[in-house]
Symmetry: C2
Subunit: 341 residues, 2 copies
């Protein structure tokens, strides 16, 4: 790999100048008194030789590697992670940086190992990402340099990037109100653990609060709230069946995420009910399935790409200490309609 690469010494020799001169010219150093002709010769020589600096050698002296560590618990390899990484990659590329990615799988030994491996490679900073939006404790080893938390916060007040779940909750509730739903709105996906323990989730509480605020402002209260032990399709299915067995059927349902909504759709389909004519459905995340469902599912998108991008920007360009909240856009789709009758 990369054998036979021309070195700075080669360039200097060809240009008939010293390594010093070549280095300064190629780095565009101000204030050197090298002649225009010297500049020409160096650029020409570099061009002819296809010179590219050896970054290992450079970083040995400068202590900069133009490399960022992206450490995540498990985010790197899930469907939710794609956007985070893509946004980070894009922003990194724009700044001539590159990403060293690892995953700890929630294992402390792996984490320790991963962080050491990154630090040994002299990364310029660390992005520490979590799959579920939550509060976590940052391993002390990475506190020696720049760190940004992605989809997470910590007690240390480190810079962090979070989705604006609170506002998303309000958008979702407001969308239903706008369609005329009022006193027959049900909620699927209440979960004490997620709501009460910030180390488990920050999203559940924020989404719930947003929903409650928007409904409260409109003088509306929820018809029913279903608790779910997990936010998976099967739980949404069970919850929806529960709702349908009650005397008063809801006109609209808010699901705490799209997978619950997927399960809810299944239950509605089996019951012979139509979305949105009988019941409107709206949720959170904008999982790919949301657009595939029939009818397509209205939801608020987790702005993964924006978040990944923001994390890199915060890390390299510096930024505010308070949490950087990224808006979750509402995707208006076919699952919304005014209440029947």
């Amino acid at each position: 790999m990369g054998r036979n690469r021309a070195t700075l010494a080669d360039v200097a020799r060809r240009a008939g100048l010293s390594k010093t001169a070549a280095s300064m010219v190629l780095n565009g150093r101000e204030g050197t008194r090298l002649s225009a002709e010297a500049h020409q010769r160096v650029f020409a020589a570099a061009e002819e030789l296809g010179y590219r600096p050896n970054l290992a050698a450079r970083s040995l002296r400068t202590r900069k590697t133009a490399t960022i560590a992206f450490v995540s618990d498990i985010v790197a390899t899930t469907r939710f992670a794609g956007g985070l990484i893509r946004g980070a990659l894009d922003a990194a590329r724009e700044r001539d940086h590159v990403l060293l990615i690892t995953e700890t799988q929630g294992d402390a030994t792996f984490e320790q190992y991963a962080i050491e491996a990154m630090l040994d490679r002299q990364v310029d900073g660390v992005i520490y990402a979590a799959m579920a939006t939550r509060r976590l404790t940052v391993p002390p080893a990475i506190l020696g340099g720049p760190v940004v938390l992605l989809n997470a916060t910590s007690a240390d007040g480190l810079p962090c990037v979070l989705p604006d779940d609170d506002r998303a909750g309000r958008s979702v509730a407001t969308a239903l109100l706008e369609h005329g739903h009022r006193d027959a709105i049900a909620l699927i996906g209440r979960n004490r653990l997620k709501e009460d323990d910030p180390e488990v989730s920050l999203a559940a509480r924020a989404r719930l609060r947003g929903i409650q605020q928007a409904l409260g402002d409109a003088g509306v209260s929820l018809l029913a709230e279903c608790f779910c032990t997990e936010w998976l399709p099967e739980h949404g299915y069970a919850a929806m069946r529960g709702l349908l067995s009650r005397p008063s059927r809801p006109s609209a349902v808010i699901c705490m995420n799209d997978r619950l909504a997927f399960g809810a759709y299944q239950a509605l389909g089996e019951a012979g009910l139509s979305v949105p004519d009988d019941i409107s459905v709206i949720s959170f995340d904008d999982d790919p399935i949301a657009a595939w469902l029939r009818p397509s599912l209205a939801t608020t998108a987790l702005p993964h790409e924006q978040m990944g991008r923001r994390a890199v920007e915060l890390l390299l360009d510096g930024g505010a200490a308070e949490p950087s909240l990224v808006a979750m856009p509402l995707r208006r789709r076919r699952s919304l309609a005014p209440p029947a009758g």
Copy 2:
């Protein structure tokens, strides 16, 4: 990041030995004549100082970085990619290596840039991954060192890792035969472009061939074959509606991937037909939705994790030149039953 790290010189000084001695001891060099006591002192000093070698410095000398480039067109950030990366990460970790990940988004300029960025960092080798299993042309820049193609082949005969779609096709067909389906099996997802142009897809042709062979061996031929311009839910939906409008209804349907099957489920649900009592369904990929569908969808899993792992093994441990085929396990689920009546 990593300021104040102890250097080898620090360790040597503390041990009362030369850098040479310290280096040799810490690298476990055979044949040095350093005393047992010298070994002790070096290890103790390294331990006390928390010494970790600076890999930039080491690689300057050794031309090894213990870093692998993972370059993909778009795989890194899609739901399908997770496993590839995870497998690669695991195998890399086991060999004390780390992954530098980039995505080209199919853009030649980005690709050029990404590859240069990796080579500038002296990576030990490149894994070049594609989202769709296909044949591609490798950029010449990476041919200077070890390369492994992941989910792709090339005309250059480079080592590559592919899913065994042919065998998966046979598994799928065989599973239906085992359930007693014979002359009423339909296929959804024929696509000339995918089948005929290896630069678009290798999977379509291989899956089809596997299916045809297994059915042919049993003396069975397909009841119907539906062509789809893409392999998305909407196309599966349309194809299934088409099938149901024909005089003879199939007893089982093979879908070329799970997204098509998802669409087919939707059409079946609307038509009031039951899976698997009225029609069995089986497909390919083992997308997460396959397990979430009701009833759960039988499918053959793309062995992403295994593939990513294999790529790293091939790259670092060397291996056969012929394509390394990874088996696609059959996931037997609820969507299979004997034909009705």
